[in-house]
Symmetry: C2
Subunit: 457 residues, 2 copies
Amino acid sequence: MRLFLILILSYPIMALSQVNKDSVMIKRLSDEIMTNGKAYDLLRELTKNIGGRLAGSPEQHNAAIWGKVNMEAFHPDKVFFQPCKTPNWKRGGKDYAAIVGIDGKVMNKKLAVMALGNSFSSKGLVEADVMVVADFDELEKRKNEVKGKIVYYHSILDPNMIETGRAYENAYSYRSDGPSRAAKYGAVAVMIHSLSTAPDNEPQTGVMEYNDSFPKIPAIALGPMDAKALYAQARTSTIRVQMETFGFFLPDADENNVVAELKGSEFPNEVITIGGHLDSWDVNEGAHDDGTGVVHTMEVLRAFKALNYHPKRTIRFVLFANEENGGRGGLKYAELAKSNNEKHILALESDDGGFTPRAIGIGCSATQLKRFQNWNPLLKRYGTEVIAGGGGADLEPLGLNDKKTILTSLLVDGQRYFDLHHAVTDVFENVNKRELHLGAVNIAAFIYLVDQYGVGN
Amino acid sequence: MRLFLILILSYPIMALSQVNKDSVMIKRLSDEIMTNGKAYDLLRELTKNIGGRLAGSPEQHNAAIWGKVNMEAFHPDKVFFQPCKTPNWKRGGKDYAAIVGIDGKVMNKKLAVMALGNSFSSKGLVEADVMVVADFDELEKRKNEVKGKIVYYHSILDPNMIETGRAYENAYSYRSDGPSRAAKYGAVAVMIHSLSTAPDNEPQTGVMEYNDSFPKIPAIALGPMDAKALYAQARTSTIRVQMETFGFFLPDADENNVVAELKGSEFPNEVITIGGHLDSWDVNEGAHDDGTGVVHTMEVLRAFKALNYHPKRTIRFVLFANEENGGRGGLKYAELAKSNNEKHILALESDDGGFTPRAIGIGCSATQLKRFQNWNPLLKRYGTEVIAGGGGADLEPLGLNDKKTILTSLLVDGQRYFDLHHAVTDVFENVNKRELHLGAVNIAAFIYLVDQYGVGN
């Protein structure tokens, strides 16, 4: 009797028969994915047979074809490409840096480094004394000392922040803006502490954006151990560093978003989107970033078809062409949605890695959020609940179209993500099958509920 | 104003000033552990310098000395050994099994195997046809076919259970009781599907208990891939298997629980225990099982001392000598607690692996649980909340002393644990530093609150 009361209280807007029907359907989706799921095998193919997929690379191009062929094999109503121009940055060579002098004494200690994405060639060796700063405040205070120096930012992720994503956001601008902010005062190159939480020495690349007003100086990330040692040493000694980078751009490449579609039976004009991005950086297999989002997307399609589920609304499964260094995939998707007058009611991205799912983050009004949270009892047994927040880089342009699309994301356990994010260690072996498949379960459950009940007004 | 109301509602039994004090202290503990924590480095020593620690092995003996020396370095009020006899099982050799015939046709396919813990030598090669059964029900139905056979149990963990611990419990009796239940009907040996969730072929050992009424036949676990292939094939063909095991017992060994103590300033006679177990199986480094529980325990002591925290109650930090194959460490601890007339108000074990913490499981009355749950707002920001359930194998004897000790445990994300539990893959490299340290944060926070406010009546 008590259980009965709790059920009624938990589902103020649904009849009990609906709750039971939904609970059964979600359990069927879960069992299908946990027992027969193909996400892990698909990820092995994407990471091991194809590999790293920087926009403009042959691998990225092949990954789109692979995605199309594999989604066609699940027999959705249609699968199509959305052609899309992407940036075409090349690393160009083996990034190099070494400490060559300490207080005037010659030495040679090679550093673990990786050029930042979109950074330019140093055009030969750059050699200069290092100026280390804790943050932008220190840079501004000491701007008169910058000229001719290699500036190092101690951009560590705050270990005391339990949510690693917040720590990453706080340090992000050192990678994205640090080079130009130092170039403004005459720096000849920039080094940063990799935006890493790992207790190792693997450098991490990631997107950097030059400000066209200043010289485009070479920029690299140091491995965490080398970075901490350099920072400590340079506070008491004059450190001289040599570095060389090789980055350049080719003309924009022709890539493709891959879109599979299940046509809605009752409200075909209401579109729900699930997606992840196909591209990755060049230095790893792009397993957690964002191979897992790609195979989550494909697995939800597979599971819906395996259970012969016919959605009420139109569901799109989108593998975005380019997120890492340009976000062109999401821009193209939003542009076409607008020009085709499509009504997008909700979109979900999986781009936080294939770790144990913890929540569905939703960006919407408090009233709408409360309505979504009525579904929590159905989701909690699989590990998630609806909370505020959400969206994803590939979805933001869609959200700006008419500001009516609700943007959501799969939120996962974030403790390991920034250990391997944009590092050589983001490989298939560091993805756990059960964690990955459980993510697909929760996306499938949530999207099923959105399809059944819509998003309200 | 609204926040103020929520705070009052959340802490019905505490004044606001207390809440603030507790919140500040817990944040200090968290920062100390996340920034200066030594758990990860201690675990590296325990797993890499010492290694696997089966009770009775030199490694287990050395681990106790290592634990004592390292806890003494944190300067608690005292550190002492509790001498304790433990079983002394030896694997004795390289376990072996192979398929040597299919439907009468000779072949040789080696299988990935590991003898179950406490199992005996086969005294040479055993060769027989395999009888595969799905479960005990099938064994009982077909008991007349068992004589002279090698019985294989298809003891998979149900992939559809989201909580892997429950799936493990459901399959547990095949490993613990399967050999004797088959020996009862004349089986010459037993094989099981390893109690594994991993998408690999690593066999997993673990404790088995012979029933003295029946012959003590050799018993092995198969790697998951070999097991599934054998099960499928044996349903349609006659499979002949050869196997050899070498297990034996030496006389009980002299081992030690290691106990560090902080004396309480207000209620020194009320004892709170935190613990993990030093011993492991012989085939791996015992990293998650239970090196992480050991270093959680040591780290909480270190953090309390680093912050110069003087507890009101007496806190014991216990590294139990023997859990895996005998539970003698917990028995000794409980025996001494009883003979010394100690009043143990609460004990917490960390023995589910060093994964992201999710909850503090508490075994107590509903009224007491509700009281503990008032602390949830303080714990949730670090990832846990108080829920029903809890305890641990090392604590159960203590719980039986006067049935007044509240048994609790750190509950963690369980998706990866049974991939590596009792397999060669339970090594340091598969422990994540942030996940590990966050476990210590939550134990420290909870134990701090228990120390401050006791456990009620």
